[in-house]
């Protein structure tokens, strides 16, 4: 069933964009109205100028190849590189900085026009702002580029080959060179190289799961069984795999014109959602811009009032607005995110877009695949039933689990049957590899049995050699059993051993005795019932159950050399001895239950979306904890209470299993209801298209949704999701392209690690931003006081840039290494509408409290430096006019000494430097208090964050370098200052620390109080 059209109709388009998409989807549907499968073969031959026995002529094939292009999916039109780069330059913060740079240029222009040729600060500032944006843009671009490369490296490097018949000759060519009309041959294990119409087929079965999500193998035969090309049996689709049998067919579509190609191109139609962090940053920019304009305007009015000219006031206005731009923040955010991205990459999550790192932290719903993500993606023996007991086998990946009692005689017989009646073999040269990971030739259940017996009874190859095989009948769907006949190990025992396995009920039919504790007992009612119970139990676990039996053939009837004919069954195949049942499942990965539990405590809902059978899906869901213990579905309740399903109140059921068929008939409101009412959801038998509907429904309910996927058809859902997670191993290129993140190990547990990191980075970014914002005030107040009180300028523009972009970057980044304050995985996901990255209380606390203290520290140091050099505080006020007069070379200070202009200028640089030092000292205190928002710094561990400690040392060293390196005064306006001036701001630093500890104490002691509300950020 191809359900894409239906899926789209269900959600009943909301926006014009979706309307458009719908149209396109409909378009695809229409285009699929091909008749290549309906017309007689002769017409087909004519249409494509081919022949169903000898194929095309290679000359014509070449012409067609030229016309149609190679048979490959065009890589989805990647965004051009320059657009990617431009995107890096156009974020919220970047825009703020562009505006600031523009203002700087305007201010510089005005200054120039007024004939002030000495004031280049504005120009430097503008250039720096632009440089910061461009450099961080390059950085972000490089990150993206790097992760794209990692993804690219996963691309299948081995080109697919196809067996084609041209000019009557079979030839193996690259699948890329196939053209419409080519006659191709496929066999079990092949990937179908293009959309083909089947001409001949022998027991051919294909796996269409990558297209439709249906995991059951589907038969392909030459007959046209349905007018819908998606349903008919005589078309096999590009990229699906042949499970068994052989077939030949004529290619009817190649490349992007194949069904899968059309779907792949659809993904580009789904718009990318804005990431939560981008929204947060926009919100933050709003706050900053609002405050900047408020401050700027206030002082604009004040300046006019004081008596400055309009133009001067305008310049002040612009300068204040620009001073509010946190130049260093962009770099901090970028570096913090990429640090986390790096950390995630080590844990097998590759992030394509830096912002996705945080999105993961905000995630409230994970829609996860089952196969390969939650499970190990290999059939494994899970349970055995013998001696009237269910035994559990070890299903862990590394065989670390408990094994069962293997002393029973029955077990030995059962193992012998399992080992011998098995055609699967290990690929050679795999001695070094642990058994569970070796590759095997054979079908899934035989593989499981092979590995199981290899693990339990040792080298199975030698074991099989001891029992020489004389005949065998492989499994087929009519008999539903497989058997083989062996000579015995003991050369003196001339009996033959017949071993048989198959569907349990079929096996039981053929048995008359049952092996219990090594004793052959008659198979009476009681044992049959025991068998039925065990079979039901194991089947109820969603496991695939096989029955095993054997018999020693009568020596006289079947002497040595007897010619066994498996097709005729010229030997005993009834009255056998039943050995036991073995059930298999694709077991969950060991780490998954724990990870799901973590999600649960972290308030994240895990929804399973799988193409698998509902029972298996439910069993695995229960196994990994997606359906928790004690949760029941409506059906479970109905059975327990013995009432019809309709009479059960759906609200009583915590869990719910919905299969694709039901989902198709549900309206979007019903689906929303189901998702709202049942916390534990499993969607089974869903097509990848239905994933999109599920994702949209979750988003309607206000969740931030992470989706895992691997198939081409998952790409729309991956794109639609807030964060699409593609599988690195199993994932198709289309899925990887649409995703924001790639799991290199396909393991669900890695997602949880990602969530943890995402939450941590959100917390830590908050701290980094708070730290970075604080110093905005001590950078701004000097200018405000300079304007209003006409003191010599206490802090210069270049110095500010040094604080923003040199000394304080490392400490603010080091906060990204801070450990979480509490167990962040025990909290609910943040509410994107309430828990903002930068909220008002953070801004207010940073600006008006800590920032204010820092300003006072700076001014104390400034006035100290001025007074000790001869300029008393009261003299400073109103001094600016003369101070800045370049022609005044004998200006008197408070002592009557005379100063030349240059001497005053160097004194001013000294002031810049002491103000700089004050901010640095206070920022050291600031970075220490920002380690925690609630806990005491001492509880958190004062020295635990080594990076932060080294950042402080770095900050001090860099500060010293700037102050004392020769040549600094004339290059960057830093002066070697007196050591005492370093000490002046220390009391304020201590005040910041003590005050914040008091704040945190209050917040901890009185949660919900006024203090908590106003001062907790």
């Amino acid at each position: 069933m191809f359900e894409m059209g239906g899926g789209v109709e269900v959600k009943g388009g909301k926006k014009t964009k979706k309307e458009k998409k719908k149209e396109r989807l409909e378009g695809v549907k229409k285009e699929m109205d091909i008749d290549d499968h309906e017309i007689p073969i002769e017409d087909l031959e004519q249409r494509y100028n081919t022949n169903v026995t000898t194929g095309m002529t290679s000359t014509f094939a070449r012409q067609v190849l030229e016309r149609d292009g190679p048979n490959e999916l065009k890589p989805p039109k990647g965004t051009p590189e320059y657009v990617k780069f431009a995107r890096q330059l156009a974020g919220g913060l970047q825009c703020l900085m562009w505006v600031a740079a523009a203002i700087c240029f305007i201010a510089f222009g005005i200054e120039l026009a007024r004939g002030n040729f000495t004031c280049f600060d504005n120009l430097y500032l503008a250039i720096t702002l632009i440089a910061v944006v461009v450099v961080t843009g390059c950085f972000g671009y490089y990150q993206e580029f790097k992760s794209t490369n990692i993804i690219a490296s996963f691309k299948n490097l081995v080109p697919q080959q196809a067996l084609v018949i041209r000019d009557g000759r079979k030839d193996t060519i690259s699948a890329k060179e196939l053209v419409v009309g080519d006659l191709v041959e496929v066999k079990g294990g092949d990937r179908i190289p293009a959309d083909i119409r089947i001409i001949t087929a022998q027991s051919c079965k294909v796996d269409n799961s990558s297209l439709t999500g249906e995991s059951e193998p589907q038969t392909r035969s030459p007959e046209c069984t349905h007018e819908n090309p998606m349903e008919t049996k005589n078309i096999a689709f590009f990229s699906t795999t042949v499970l068994e049998g052989v077939a030949t067919g004529v290619i009817i579509n190649t490349g992007d014109r194949t069904i899968i190609g059309r779907i792949a191109t659809l993904a580009s139609g789904v718009g990318n959602e804005k990431t939560p962090i981008a929204i947060e940053i926009e919100h933050f920019v709003d706050i900053i811009a609002g405050l900047a304009i408020f401050f700027g305007f206030t002082f604009f009015v004040v300046a006019l009032f004081i008596g400055y000219s309009f133009l001067e006031a305008m310049i002040y206005f612009m300068a204040i607005v620009v001073a509010y731009v946190p130049e260093g923040l962009l770099a901090t955010v970028t570096v913090c995110l990429s640090l986390t991205a790096k950390r995630l990459a080590r844990k097998n999550c590759v992030v394509k877009n830096l912002e996705a790192v945080e999105t993961l932290g905000s995630t409230s719903v994970i829609c996860s695949d089952k196969t390969g993500t939650l499970t190990q993606n290999r059939m494994t023996v899970a349970h055995l039933w013998f001696d009237n007991h269910v035994h559990s086998a070890d299903t862990t990946e590394d065989q670390s689990g408990q094994s069962f009692d293997q002393s029973s005689e029955t077990w030995r017989s059962l193992a012998r049957v399992a080992g011998l009646c098995n055609r699967a073999i290990f690929r050679p040269d795999q001695e070094g590899i642990p058994i569970p990971r070796r590759t095997v030739v054979g079908d899934a259940s035989e593989t499981a049995l092979l590995k199981f017996t290899e693990l339990t009874i040792g080298n199975i190859e030698q074991y099989r050699n001891r029992f020489k095989k004389v005949a065998e009948l492989p499994f087929n769907s009519t008999n539903k059993f497989a058997l083989s006949i062996h000579e015995l190990e003991d050369p003196l025992d001339l009996r033959y051993l017949l071993v048989m396995k198959g569907a349990p009920e079929r096996i039981l039919e053929r048995c008359s005795t049952i092996l219990i504790k090594g004793q052959e007992l008659p198979l009476d009612e009681q044992w049959t019932e025991a068998f039925q119970t065990a079979y039901m139990d194991l089947g109820g676990l969603g496991e695939r159950v096989l029955g095993f039996c054997n018999i020693y053939l009568n020596e006289k009837e079947f002497p040595r050399g007897f010619s066994f004919d498996p097709d005729e069954l010229n030997f005993t195949t009834s009255n056998l001895c039943f050995c036991g049942l073995v059930s298999m499942i694709d077991p969950p990965r060991a780490t998954v239950p724990d990870a799901v539990m973590k999600c649960r405590t972290a308030g994240i809902r895990v929804v399973m979306v799988t193409g698998d059978h509902p029972i298996t899906a439910k069993a695995i869901a229960a196994n990994v904890g997606i359906i928790s213990e004690g949760s029941e579905t409506v059906e479970d309740i109905a059975i327990r209470k013995r009432i019809p399903v309709e009479r059960v109140n759906p609200r009583e059921a915590r869990a719910c299993v919905i299969n694709g068929g039901q989902l198709k008939d549900m309206s979007s409101d019903e689906l929303d209801d189901a998702l709202r009412n049942h916390p534990e959801m499993v969607f089974a038998r869903t097509s990848p298209q239905q994933k999109l509907i599920i994702v949209e429904s979750c988003q309607r309910l206000g969740s931030i949704v992470a989706v895992t996927g691997d198939g081409v058809n998952d790409s729309p859902a991956l794109k639609k999701a807030d964060i699409g997670i593609a599988m690195g191993i199993a994932g198709s290129d289309a899925a990887k392209n649409a995703a924001d993140m790639i799991l290199l190990d396909d393991n669900f547990a890695s997602i949880v690690t990602g969530v943890e990191q995402g939450r941590l980075i959100f917390d830590n970014l908050k701290k980094s931003i708070a730290y970075t914002l604080t110093k905005n005030i001590p950078e701004l107040t000097p200018y405000l006081i300079y304007i209003t009180c006409s003191i010599p300028l206490p802090l210069g523009c270049i110095t500010i840039l040094f604080i923003e972009l040199a000394t304080d970057i490392y400490p603010s980044v080091s906060l990204a290494y801070e450990k979480a304050e509490s167990d962040i995985m025990n909290l609910k996901p943040r509410n994107p509408r309430r828990d903002r990255l930068v909220n008002e209380s953070l801004a207010v606390y940073s600006y008006f409290q800590i920032g204010a203290i820092q300003s006072f520290a700076g001014f104390t140091d400034y006035f100290t430096a001025m007074a000790q050099e001869g300029w008393f505080p009261l003299l400073c006020i109103g001094l600016r006019g003369n101070w800045e007069d370049t022609h005044l070379q004998d200006m008197q200070d408070s002592y009557g000494q005379e100063w030349s202009f240059s001497q005053r200028l160097y004194q001013q640089y000294t002031c810049y430097t002491v103000f700089f030092v004050s901010i640095e000292i206070c920022q050291i205190s600031d970075v220490l208090i920002r380690k925690t928002r609630r806990l005491s710094v001492f509880t958190q561990g004062f020295f635990r964050n080594k990076v932060l400690m080294s950042a402080i040392v770095f900050q001090i060293l860099l500060g010293n370098l700037l102050c004392y390196c020769p040549g600094m005064p004339n290059i960057f306006n830093f002066m070697p200052i007196r050591g005492q001036w370093w000490a002046v701001p220390i009391p304020y630093g201590i005040l910041i620390f003590v005050y914040d500890e008091i704040r945190k104490l209050g917040v901890r002691r009185a949660p919900g109080s006024w203090w908590d509300q106003e001062l907790y950020y």
């Binding site: 929204i279 926009e282 919100h283 709003d286 509408r833 008006f848 409290q849 204010a852 203290i853 006072f856 001014f859 104390t860 006035f863 100290t864 007074a867 000790q868 050099e869 001869g870 008393f872 505080p873 022609h887 070379q889 004998d890 008197q892 200070d893 408070s894 002592y895 009557g896 000494q897 005379e898 100063w899 030349s900 202009f901 240059s902 001497q903 005053r904 160097y906 004194q907 000294t910 004339n970 007196r978 002046v984 009391p987 304020y988 005040l991 006024w1010 106003e1014």
Partner: protein, 299 residues
């Protein structure tokens, strides 16, 4: 924006929400509390600021700055002092130079012998006039030495009211910036001023002496007091509080036959064996340069 979504009513409602009686998102009590909090907070901060400032001011000496890091090379300045330090005038047009002479008159008024006699003492020349405090007992007020206007002789403006401006032999007065406690000149050698042609920028960077022709254009100069010395008895300076009547010593330089109708760049330097040469960037540290152009056309 998300803000609009949650606030519902947008900006209008944000400023005044009649339902919850909230102004800018807060009720009156809430505003009261938060403003009170900030009032207390800032009063505390201001108090701390005042306290630290008070402590700092206590450490200051009334008479001598704690540090004189910037003043190791005192600045030099000329009088008269036009904004751009370009003295350009025409000897035939009185209005082009009389502002200079009046400026000098005003500047030198304090040096009139009568004023000096009244305010200052006669000191022993050629040695520092030290008036040390004896321990804690301040020896204040400090006395000052007389610098009589007559020392400047023909540049005093007493004999020649126009300081030579009218006949193309102008006087320029040079003063050394006051720095508390400065003792210019070791071993009893008084610092002195020399003036000369200012070499062009490129030559200055190579520390070449001025070109001969430039020196010739400047012509002869005569210094008052003789040799252009600042007598040691005017040092050290004890600050405007302790030494209220301090008279800064001056040196006058008179250009006797400077080339007319041409821009002449002149640089005057202090020569003292213990004043370090100022930084290249500070054009007034221990030196001063100015442009002199005397036009003689009659039109």
């Amino acid at each position: 924006m998300a803000k609009d979504g949650e606030k519902g009513g947008g900006w209008g409602e944000f400023i005044w929400n009649p339902r919850t009686r909230e102004f800018m998102g807060r009720t009156a009590t809430s505003w009261g509390l938060i403003l009170l909090f900030y009032l207390v907070f800032y009063i505390f901060l201001a108090g701390m600021f005042a306290l630290t400032m008070y402590v700092m001011l206590q450490t200051l000496d009334d008479h001598k700055p704690t540090w004189q890091d910037r003043l190791s090379t005192p600045g030099l300045m000329i009088r008269p002092k036009p904004e751009t330090l370009e003295i350009i005038y025409n000897i035939h047009r009185t209005e082009s130079w009389d502002m200079h002479t009046t400026a000098l008159d005003r500047f030198l008024a304090d040096y009139n012998n009568s004023v000096q006699m009244e305010k200052s003492d006669e000191c022993v020349p050629d040695q520092y006039f030290k008036q040390d405090d004896s321990g804690d007992v301040k020896n204040n007020p400090k006395r000052s030495c007389q610098f009589n206007r007559t020392i400047l002789e023909s540049c005093s403006g007493l004999e020649d009211r126009y300081y030579g401006f009218q006949d193309g032999k102008p006087c320029i007065i040079i003063k050394l910036n006051r720095v508390i406690g400065m003792l210019p000149g070791r071993d009893g050698q008084a610092p002195f001023i020399t003036c000369g042609a200012k070499p062009p920028l490129a030559d200055r960077q190579l520390r070449l002496p001025p070109k001969k022709e430039d020196t010739e254009k400047v012509g002869e100069m005569v210094y008052f007091p003789p040799n252009g010395t600042f007598n040691l008895m005017y040092y050290p300076y004890y600050g405007k509080k302790a030494q209220v009547n301090y008279s800064q010593p001056l040196v006058a330089v008179k250009f006797l036959n400077i080339t007319t109708n041409e821009d002449i760049n002149i640089e005057c330097k202090i020569n003292a064996n213990n004043i370090p040469p100022g930084s290249e960037r500070d054009k007034f540290a221990g030196r001063v340069s100015f442009k002199l152009r005397i036009n003689t056309h009659t039109d």
